[in-house]
């Protein structure tokens, strides 16, 4: 008797992520590696590692869905799906209830409204601007002379928030100098940086009952959860392995999808999640 395995690969601007599911949707393996400049290689590496963890040969996968910036570069993918679809599916698989999914990635941020049956109701993405994304944090940390991985700990040292605009990453870096001149300490500025990211999320209009966080920024900057709770006044939770939510959703879609790319283009109605908007 043959056993089915399904994979999702999410090649993002910073990291490639992969997840492998068994026939019942159980998570068997997952992996993550830096994307670098080789989108194809990064996707394959993540998939190979996830398969190794699952104990499944890559060629033994029944179907693979790819998503993310490098979705077209994933060898062996039977279908590509949008990040919005994959994130919503992955988040619903984890929480199983109505929510706003907030994904803050390296270069973009997005929110997706999901109802209590897992249906995507609507979504919003940031405008063509890196403010409020991982790139924003990188630029400001660089200007502050703080290693990116230490920025969160710095922000946790104080409750004071330096007022930083969320208009533009480049100008925000310049604003940091002005804030230093005004006497704010690095911890308050760091907290202001996270508040600025949180404000970008607020601007996109997340709503309750719960805000579920995905993406690399919350994975590496857990302080953002606390600041988002303060800013939003809503229940805010981090999804398990937040960077892998898109890959996990892609794997679920692979499991639920038709048998091949051409056939599945005709058979989208078989997908379990439906768009209302």
């Amino acid at each position: 008797m043959s056993v089915d395995f399904f994979a999702g690969v999410d090649v993002g601007s910073s990291y490639a992520k992969a997840a492998v599911l068994g026939a019942q949707g159980e998570l068997l393996g997952k992996a993550l590696c830096p994307t670098g400049l080789d989108l194809k290689g990064a996707g394959l590496t993540a998939l190979t590692q996830a398969c190794a963890e699952a104990g499944v040969p890559v060629e033994g996968l029944s179907r693979t869905v790819s998503t993310g910036y490098g979705r077209d570069e994933v060898a062996g993918a039977t279908r590509t799906r949008s990040e919005i679809f994959c994130l919503a599916r992955g988040a619903f698989a984890a929480l199983g209830r109505a929510m706003t999914v907030v994904d803050i990635g390296g270069q973009d941020s997005k929110i997706i409204y999901v109802d209590d049956r897992g249906r995507r109701l609507d979504y919003r993405m940031n405008r063509k601007c890196a403010a409020g994304t991982g790139a924003f944090l990188e630029i400001v940390a660089l200007r502050m002379g703080v290693p990116l991985e230490n920025l969160g700990a710095l922000a946790e040292q104080t409750r004071e928030v330096a007022p930083l605009s969320s208009f533009c990453s480049v100008f925000a870096a310049t604003e940091v100098l002005d804030l230093l001149r005004k006497g704010y300490g690095p911890p308050a500025i760091a907290r202001g940086v996270y508040r600025s990211v949180a404000q970008r999320v607020v601007d996109m209009g997340p709503r309750g009952p719960v805000v579920a966080m995905a993406g690399g920024v919350v994975a590496h900057h857990p302080v953002l959860l606390e600041i988002l709770r303060e800013t939003l006044g809503l229940e805010v939770v981090a999804l398990s392995s937040p960077q892998l939510v898109g890959a996990l959703g892609a794997a679920h879609l692979a499991r639920e999808d038709g048998p091949s790319t051409e056939e599945s283009l005709e058979g989208e109605g078989s997908a379990t999640m439906r768009e209302e908007a």
């Binding site: 919005i84 973009d108 405008r127 063509k128 283009l265 989208e268 109605g269 997908a271 768009e275």
Partner: protein, 411 residues
């Protein structure tokens, strides 16, 4: 690999020849010192032809600058003389090209420069920017600049609005009489109006063929084949061209030929084209088996209300009736009606950064249409000419989500 971009029309060759002839005549006029009038795209071209002017359209030049991607290289010259990068990028690319001494007409038609105008004639029925645009040339070249000031945001094209514009047109006739190569000829105006009306009706019928499934041609084709209805409005050549195009399109309909093989999605495009990305976007849509079957930009260019029996009021009515001159409510109703008429399952709003007058996504219309019609909508940020305002990869994500929504709606 098969060419994924739109219809393979035999008319493409005729269009190329027709445009070469048009620009060839402009070149001859320019070199021989014959009078050339510059006109906005929905300005009073028929009146100018009745006076014997060769008519040149800077907006067509702007579109060529965008399509050839020259715009991004020349706009800085216009910014340098004070024309902001936030204003119409047709204007900034056209003036920038003039200041830089370059034109896409050189490679396409052997014209080293745009033809020197004898008079500049605008109509603000599109936007106020055309007035500023033409006035720059008027000051720079020392050429008279004349204009029609149209009321905008019209729910109805009222008798009062028609009288207001008709009176300006008659005043314009008197002003042009002092500059024109020959006296005003009412019969020539009547002939130009008849040609315009006939060509407009034929153009509308050509577009209407895309209402059939599968569509024999799509938006990327429409934007190319609309050139004669813009630059040859009022001529018998435009009429003849669209008769031929219509015959070809109807034959394609009869044979069931699809511009997008395996057409699955039908989409309405609202707003300006993104000229420099026509081909990549057409390829992207085609790769998803999505056909852009109708658009505000091309479908609203039907000046079928021109009437030679009452020329001044008919011109006023036709020029005021264009989509861009109408109210938000009219526009929404037009988009919904046209989308349904063409069987579009979704609407893409191009939010063109430097063209607020032709961007209808900024006051809640997409959300209203989605709520009332249940149609998936997408707002795509870009620009008609400024390449700094559009990122294909970033837009690809949004487009793919939109197509997923349409897929879901198909069930």
């Amino acid at each position: 690999m098969a060419d994924l971009v739109g219809a393979q029309l035999q008319s493409n060759g005729r269009l190329k020849a027709l445009m070469a002839e048009y620009f060839g005549q402009l070149k001859v006029a320019d070199e021989g010192g014959a009078p050339v009038a510059w006109c906005t795209s929905v300005g009073p071209a028929e009146l100018l032809r009745a006076f014997g002017f060769q008519v040149y359209f800077p907006e067509n030049h702007g579109a060529m600058l965008g399509a050839t991607r020259m715009a991004g290289k020349v706009m800085a010259a216009a910014h340098g003389v004070g024309y902001s990068q936030d204003i119409c990028s047709y204007l900034t690319s056209d003036i920038g090209a003039f200041l830089s001494g370059v034109t896409p007409l050189a490679k396409a038609y052997g014209m080293e420069a745009v033809p020197r105008p004898s008079v500049l004639v605008y109509n603000t029925n599109q936007c106020r920017e055309v007035k500023d645009w033409f006035e720059w040339y008027g000051r720079t070249l020392g050429v008279p600049t004349l204009g029609i000031h149209s009321p905008g945001q019209l729910d109805q094209v009222t008798p009062e609005a028609i009288e207001l514009v008709a009176a300006q047109l008659e005043h314009l006739r008197d002003a042009l009489a002092l500059l024109a190569p020959r006296p005003f000829d009412p019969a020539a105006l009547a002939e130009a109006l008849d040609h315009s009306r006939e060509a407009a009706i034929l153009w509308g019928r050509c577009l209407q063929t895309a209402a059939r499934t599968p569509a024999p041609w799509v938006f990327s084709d429409h934007t190319i084949h609309m050139a004669p209805i813009v630059v040859l409005r009022g001529t018998s050549e435009a009429v003849a061209y669209y008769k031929g195009l219509l015959a070809e399109l109807e034959a394609l309909c009869a044979s069931g030929t699809a511009a997008v093989p395996g057409e699955r999605f039908r989409i309405y495009w609202e707003g300006m084209p993104i000229w420099g990305q026509l081909r990549p976007l057409a390829e992207l849509f085609a790769s998803h088996r999505a056909a852009l079957v109708a658009s505000t930009y091309c479908n609203s260019w039907v000046l079928d209300e021109l009437d030679s029996s009452d020329p001044w009021r008919a011109m006023a009515r036709a020029y005021l009736s264009i989509f861009i001159c109408r109210s938000e409510g009219y526009k929404q109703e037009y988009i919904v009606r046209t989308a349904h008429e063409f069987g579009a399952g979704g609407v893409i709003f191009h939010d063109s950064k430097t063209c607020p007058h032709n961007s209808n996504s900024r006051f809640g219309m997409p959300q209203r249409i989605r709520a009332t019609e249940g149609l998936p909508v997408l707002v795509l940020e870009g620009d008609l000419n400024d390449p700094r305002c559009f990122a294909l990869e970033e837009s690809r994500v949004r487009l793919e989500v939109f197509l997923e929504q349409m897929e879901d709606a198909l069930g």
